[in-house]
Symmetry: D3
Subunit: 69 residues, 6 copies
């Protein structure tokens, strides 16, 4: 499957924290930086996300804000 | 200024393409991966974004989708 | 590739309108309803989107607002 | 009220699951496809959402990703 | 029509700038603060948005980032 | 830090409600209108958000829907 989303960052799951309905998943991308994602618990189960698994952080370019110092 | 957004990825601007109202800016983050952002032309001017400038890609965790192969 | 996004609606591309940097693509999903997407021209080219092609509209559940009459 | 959001999909609420602060609501749209929405518990109460109620899934076109096989 | 979106800010349209496909609309909310919106040209036409018109800026709470100095 | 996000509304925190993973924070902006934000509990702690604190609601223009009566 190919996606229109311009940002597909490959990494490894480093933490999965489930709440009552919403989970937070952290993915370490190649340079040691970590990306945090907030998804449904249902998705965590459907994708079988566990610490150590390979995964991608997918981000639509219209959701990326730019900042400068 | 501190942000609630959990993802603030530092990098360098590698391209700025202005459209009629909307611009696309690419930032190379540390590991050679590039993040594409779609922002207003007005923001490009307000931030003085040019190729080579240091910048951050800021992404709210609720905007990050996870994918697995 | 499996996605955490809970909404993956299958359909057929019924129009592709490119702007200077941003394109609008309409996908007719099974019941005659049409979903409009705003993506980069770059994505239209990368996915080879043309009228008549099969495609999916992918939507994160945190981006869905509910309305009632 | 008329909305700029290009996607207003009519359907029927098929499930409402409240978490501690965030709820997940599923709406079956006309062709049997289901759309999942993540909203605040506060909104569930304000709209009186219950299973069987008519409702709309409202999605801004900039939040729709396109995928192809 | 009632919306799950928690933020519905009433104001007056102070500018409408159409691009090739995407328009930028500014709404002055009650205290002189201006909210900028990026929507499709199609929506500008469908809503008949012109300077001086009353309008609402509708924002889902999951799209609001918090910042502190 | 300067942001590409066109909407930075200054206000005061009037409520902080933590869930299991996700918190809802309300900010009263200058004209008495309140903006609700849904962020991670982690962000509430990182920013030290408490009732009465000065804060900004930051919103990307592509996340603002326009509505008219």
């Amino acid at each position: 499957m190919k996606l229109s989303a311009r940002n597909v960052l490959k990494g490894k799951v480093v933490s999965v924290e489930k709440g009552t309905t919403t989970a937070h998943v952290k993915i370490e991308i190649a340079n040691g930086q970590t990306v945090t994602s907030s998804i449904t618990n249902e998705s965590v189960d459907a994708l079988g996300l566990t610490v150590g698994a390979e995964a991608y952080a997918v981000i639509k370019s219209s959701d990326v804000i730019i900042a400068v110092d």
